[in-house]
């Protein structure tokens, strides 16, 4: 079978696996965004706190993915949950680090202006700090998404979902019928999916650029999307 014939014959399966792959990655990134932003917000003011948070997240990222997936099997069993947790853990670091950077880079004069006109800490965070840090946070989300796309392929090894199945069964019987097609379609699928999702996130970045909503916000400030909603909007794609 040629590559294209293979694609034709396995169309339904491949589509389903692509969708699974995208779902687990985006779910993991969404959870990691919430966790990373929350930890970033909680620690960015304290030098010690944010150093520890970033160091822990970085340490997690150095654990080889095979090892982490394997270690999660005894307590959690095979299936969907261990890869989801592993992917989430990996995805936290870029988002956390960018949240901290984005928040600390805000002009102190602006933070003080916010305080000076009588904004409380939560309001400051929601209306000034997160919106201003958002482009940097989103850049972190994009890095996390790209990174976990690749790692998610390995999830198939522990019974997880996604395009990894194509790659693993291809590599397992190398030389056999279709083995090369399988490995190729799995790999290409991951790359194309990654590019497509990144494109969506880039678009999201344009749509949520700070100040973009100014025209409508000028009339109705409450209609501006709250940062939380924007952060999880990625899963909607």
């Amino acid at each position: 079978m040629t590559f294209l014939e293979y694609l034709q014959s396995r169309r339904t399966l491949l589509l389903a696996q692509t969708l699974e792959h995208a779902t687990i990655v985006l779910t993991a990134v969404a959870i990691a965004t919430v966790v990373g932003v929350l930890i970033g917000v909680a620690t960015y003011r304290h030098r010690r706190g944010r150093a520890i948070a970033v160091a822990v997240a970085a340490a997690i990222l150095t654990i080889p993915s095979f090892a982490l997936l394997g270690l999660l099997i005894p307590p959690l069993g095979l299936g969907y949950v261990p890869p989801l947790i592993a992917l989430t853990l990996y995805a936290v670091l870029p988002i956390l680090r960018n949240t901290v950077v984005g928040l600390t880079e805000i002009d102190p004069a602006l933070r003080e202006a916010a305080r000076g006109i009588g904004m409380g800490p939560l309001r400051r965070l929601a209306t000034v700090e997160i919106p201003l840090a958002w482009p940097v946070i989103l850049a972190g989300i994009r890095v996390s998404t790209q990174m976990t796309m690749g790692i998610a392929a390995i999830a198939a090894y522990v019974g997880g979902p996604g395009l990894g199945h194509q790659i693993f069964s291809g590599l397992a019987n190398l030389g056999g019928v279709n083995s090369l097609n399988q490995a190729l379609v799995g790999t290409l699928g991951v790359v194309i999916l990654a590019l497509a999702v990144d494109l969506c996130l880039a678009l999201l970045g344009v749509l949520t650029r700070p100040g973009r909503g100014a025209r409508s916000a000028a009339r109705n400030p409450r209609s501006a999307p709250p940062a939380g909603a924007a952060a999880t909007a990625g899963t909607a794609h």
Partner: protein, 406 residues
Amino acid sequence: MSDDVMISLDHVSKRYRGQKVPAVENVSMTIHRGEIVVLVGPSGCGKTTTMKMINRLIEPSSGRITLDGADVTSLNPTELRRRIGYVIQQGGLFPHMSVATNIGMVPRMLGWDRRRIDARVDELLDLVGLEPGQFRNRLPQQLSGGQQQRVGVARALAADPPVMLMDEPFGATDPLTREHLQNEFLRLQEKLQKTIVFVTHDFDEAIKMGSRIAVLGERSRIRQFDTPERLLAAPADETVAQFIGAGASLKQLNLRRVGSIAYDEAHLVTSQESPAAVLRHLDESGDWAVLTVDGERRPLRWVGPRDLRPERDTLDGVGIPAPTVEPRATLRDALDAMLTCGCGAAVVVDDAGRYRGVLGIDRLMRAITEMRETERSRDRGVAEASYYRPPMPRTLAAPAQRGGAR
């Protein structure tokens, strides 16, 4: 204390954590309702620190600050700050929000409904001289520095707070824009009668803006707290005199406004007038020049006999551009205007830029002479030459007491 005290600082000190010397040490002053008190002093002397303690952006290490009779530490800080307008250098506008959202921030926090906020935003934009339809929906980065500062002032005024704190609000603009903003702000203040604490390190600005000026030294120590007139006439000590700098008598020009002296009249003509008729008028009247104005009576150019070409039909583009000043400008501004055009006269215009009269250099000289004479008779006994040198006994007066006096 009398009820017209709005803000009082009572032996206030601030020592930042990890610093050996306090940034502000034992400062006491009272600020009355409706006055502009200017804090002026060298960089790093603690002006900003002193000001920020009033709205509790910085907590004093010791001492007491009251606002309208209430100890500020007994008030909720965010609520306190919503009652105090706050303007910082370069406006401090939120870059991701439109001009309207920036201005409407405090009213929104106070729970005003949307229609009222929108109306208030437009009203304030008008007040600070920005056309609402044009500026409402812009982002701060789409404004010039001077426009940003106006929006900053509008934001601080939004909920009509009785007190304003302004930290070098016109700091980052060119001298011309700054002068314009100052005049505009003084015009506003005539209407609004806010109690204002104004920080600057520009002494000329202090003289122009202040009802009273506190000259601060190291650790915010008050060296002298007095009206601009008294400060120029009798600096409390050598340091204050140095700070006032050379040319104290020239600086007195900052004390009088153009509006306070009589104007002359110029002969007004439109640009369509024929050069021959103008020449005839100049011959008959002995005037040195006529002033061309547009249809709205806004001054254009001075036209003298030597500018006239009898062979031409109109005065279009003839003569030298006429410098203008507002009645709120100081005599110093007027002198500047005369010197730049080299014509010895500035045209006084109203808010809409329409002709009101002419201020000639001779009138200016007469006003200066008058000012010196009043000054001299008030300070009889103080030799004229001792403008910079303090009358000895006065240096010993405690600044705090001095500050208490109106």
